[in-house]
């Protein structure tokens, strides 16, 4: 169970690295899906099958597909990837990555101090237990989440409307 965890963890990190550094959006997307699947594998390794399943179905399946769908719709041509490469000059990524590294070091330092000794043995936490929690004390939260999704739905539909009808009224707003 440890081997699966470390292997899939490594895959996740490498895939994410590729996502950030790739110039073609499609490649990035696919690497992201690989990374999500690797994380799902980690969940399974840690004994959280329900979370793993969710990850695969909702995250990788739904959200990423949505991304792919949108990216395809924008039908970006080769010029986009060329420009991406131009934008990725050393000057742009050195600063942020140093900063991110510094943040990472600080996070690891706090983790290191935190003397969290606990070990995960891998005995699974069944979906039933999660369900009991969800519809037990957390009932209100689930309702709230539903409202969140509804709000997202409304916003996305309004903002995402096709430009033609909105072109005339929106023009002055820009």
């Amino acid at each position: 169970m440890e081997l699966a965890f470390y292997a899939s963890g490594l895959v996740a990190v490498l895939a994410t690295l590729r996502v950030i550094t790739s110039t073609n959006p499609i490649h990035a997307l696919l690497y992201l899906i690989v990374s999500l699947l690797a994380v799902a594998l980690v969940f399974f390794a840690l004994g959280a099958p329900f979370a793993g399943a969710l990850e695969v179905i909702v995250y990788a399946g739904a959200i990423m597909v949505l991304f792919v769908f949108v990216v395809m719709m924008l039908n970006l041509n080769a010029a986009v990837t060329a420009r991406e490469r131009a934008w990725l000059g050393p000057r742009t990524w050195v600063g942020p990555s140093v900063l991110a590294a510094l943040l990472l070091v600080v996070l690891l330092a706090t983790l290191q101090h935190g003397d969290i000794g606990r070990v995960i043995e891998g005995d699974t936490l069944t979906a039933k237990a999660v369900g009991m929690v969800l519809f037990g004390p957390w009932l209100v939260v689930v309702e709230l989440v539903a409202m969140l999704l509804l709000a997202a739905l409304v916003t996305a539909s309004h903002v995402g409307r096709s430009v033609s009808r909105e072109a005339d009224s929106g023009r002055d707003g820009a």
């Binding site: 600063g95 900063l99 600080v106």
Partner: protein
């Protein structure tokens, strides 16, 4: 009779007020009439007072009212008539009357006569107050009053900027002296608790012993004031430029009365000066240096009035020399005779200038002795008195008295300076008279010179001429009771000194006559080359004091003024406003609209917080 004392200054003051408020309504004759009669009446009152004083010679005081009364600071408007002030009063009103009368003729063609006479009367009133004041604050009032009138009268022809600058310079340099005098007053009041001159003379010896540093300082400050007003060495640069005013002004203010105010002050406060021997010695030295410097400077001037101005400076140097050797009576005696013959010289110069249609340059005058006879006689008599021609002239007796006091007091060096000075005096005198009256006329104005007519022109010159001869010397000033007795010495030495001084004077006259009558070409050529030229230029600019003061004092002040014109300290007030503007510019740049910059700033913030927590925990 003492109630008539205030009339001596109230009459001229009334003249000033009448002229000030009458404006041009009085017309030229009316104005002159008011101007002259006010001083004439004052002279008449002075004559009456003199008659009474000589009958019973003791000091009379009259307090009009208490000026200021706060705690023990009680100066009063009080007048005090004694021998010294009577002499000065006689000189001021007597010579003043003659000059006012002559001015009536001199100012014929001029404009602004009302203004001229108003200021002249105000001057006489201030000078009388200066002389009669029984306390130093009233003396200071007269002191500043004469300074103001000298400023106004030098700047009489106010349309040309040079005259106004000359007046400004005169007032400023004398004002510096006045500042020293003021500090001297403060010190005297703090130490002696009074400003009344009689009390000061009485308390000073009790309060201080001779040579006490405080009394030395007080005497030095008083001397500073005297030097400023009497145009002695450090503060003398204004007198030559003061000739920009009309000639009667130069005669009255810069020859007879104002410039002698310093001598009067030192003589009046002789008690304080006697307690400070070092300062007294310094006075003598300054007197000697000034008489020599002025003597040389007079040799190299081209303008008549500037020669006379330096001659005045030189003669006052003699008075300061006399004061330096504690010969106070001799100084005042010379002051009186000098007033006569110097006024005569200036008025004759005025006659020459007006006669030659305002031509003042010696090099362009000449051959006038036939055309301007009265002026020529005036110059001759006045010059003789100036050069101290033995036995005949008043100048001889007074200058001899000074030299005798120097010898009797044992100051050999000062005596030598005096003798050298009288030699120089004869030289520049001869140069002046020959330059004006002999040789051929240099300019059109000189050729067509016409002599002045009328009593106003003639009578003052004649009267002054008489006073400049030995008749003037008979007017013994009644100083016995007021000033300390002069030094005594063996008669033999006195006679020897008289012979020596007379000889030097005659030698000077002979040398001058020989040099300037038939060696003129040789002199001009010497003065044109090498050392002679440099010396001539140095003396012409009066040893370069003026230029030095200009560079050392005037230019830095002017630079400072233009530098500070825009109020540097006030600009500090605008600092907060400017600081707010810079903050605005800097901070607005962080809101650049770039989303990624916002992300970066958030990450930096998060990292810092975590860092703090990590370190703190």
């Amino acid at each position: 009779m003492t109630w008539t004392l205030p009339l001596t200054f109230l009459l001229p003051l009334a003249g000033t007020l009448i002229l000030a408020f009458s404006g041009a309504r009085l017309g030229r004759r009316g104005t002159t009439w008011v101007g002259v009669t006010s001083v004439a009446l004052a002279a008449l009152v002075t004559a009456l007072l003199a008659h009474h004083y000589l009958a019973a010679p003791e000091a009379r005081t009259l307090t009009l009212w208490r000026w200021i009364a706060v705690g023990d600071f009680q100066p009063t408007i009080g007048l005090r008539l004694d021998g010294l002030s009577l002499t000065l009063l006689g000189v001021i009103t007597g010579v003043g009357l003659l000059i006012h009368w002559f001015a009536a003729w001199y100012m014929q063609g001029e404009e602004g006569v009302t203004r001229f006479y108003a200021y002249m009367n105000l001057f006489v009133a201030s000078m009388v107050l200066l002389v009669l004041g029984d306390n130093l604050l009233l003396l200071f009032l007269g002191w500043e009053g004469v300074g103001l009138c000298s400023y106004l009268l030098i700047g009489h022809y106010y349309r040309t900027a040079a005259n106004v600058r000359a007046a400004f310079k005169a007032f400023l340099v004398t004002r510096i002296g006045d500042a020293f005098l003021a500090i001297g007053l403060f010190l005297l009041f703090r130490e002696l608790g009074t400003l009344n001159i009689a009390e000061i003379l009485q308390r000073a010896p009790e309060r201080w012993s001779a040579g006490d540093p405080l009394v030395e300082l007080a005497a030095l400050l008083l001397l500073g004031g005297a030097l400023g007003k009497s145009a002695q060495l450090p503060l003398h640069t204004w007198l030559a430029d003061a000739m920009a005013g009309p000639t009667p002004v130069s005669a009255l203010i810069h020859a007879a009365t104002m410039v002698t105010a310093g001598v009067y002050l030192v003589a009046r406060l002789h008690g304080v000066f006697l307690l400070a021997p070092a300062v007294l010695w310094l006075t003598g030295v300054i007197g000697a240096l000034t008489l020599l410097a002025a003597g040389f400077a007079a040799l190299a001037q081209t303008d008549i009035k500037r020669v006379l101005a330096y001659s005045t400076m030189s003669q006052i140097g003699y008075m300061f020399l006399a004061l330096g050797v504690a010969g106070f009576e001799a100084a005042i005696f010379h002051l009186m005779t000098h007033a006569f013959f110097k006024a005569l010289l200036f008025l004759s110069a005025g006659a020459v200038i007006v006669g030659c249609h305002h031509e003042q340059d010696i090099r362009r005058l000449g051959g006038l002795w036939r055309r301007l006879p009265l002026a020529y006689v005036g110059f001759l008599v006045g010059g003789a008195a100036l050069a101290a021609l033995p036995l005949v002239t008043a100048g001889f007796y007074s200058k001899d008295a000074i030299l005798w006091q120097a010898l009797a007091a044992g100051h050999g060096a000062l005596l030598l300076a005096g003798l050298l000075g009288s030699l120089l005096t004869s030289l520049y005198l001869l140069r002046l008279i020959v330059g004006i009256f002999h040789g051929e006329a240099g300019s059109e104005g000189a050729r067509r010179a016409e002599a002045g007519q009328g009593l106003a022109h003639g009578l003052p010159l004649v009267v002054l001429a008489l006073l400049s001869t030995f008749l003037g010397a008979w007017l013994e000033p009644p100083l016995g009771s007021v000033l300390p007795a002069p030094h005594e010495g063996s008669e033999g030495w006195h006679l020897a000194l008289e012979l020596l001084a007379g000889g030097v004077a005659l030698l000077g006259i002979a040398l001058g006559a020989w040099l300037f009558l038939n060696r003129r070409a040789w002199l001009a050529d010497v003065a044109a080359r090498g050392l002679g030229a440099r010396l001539w230029r140095l003396w012409h600019h009066a040893w370069g004091f003026d230029a030095a003061y200009e560079r050392l004092l005037v230019r830095p002040y002017r630079g400072l003024v233009s530098g500070l014109r825009h109020d540097a300290i006030d600009a500090l007030g605008l600092l907060p406003a400017r600081l707010a503007w810079w903050l605005h510019v800097a901070l607005s740049r962080t809101q650049g609209g770039k989303l990624r910059l916002y992300a970066v700033s958030m990450v930096v913030g998060a990292t810092l917080i975590l860092l703090v927590m990590a370190v703190a925990a």
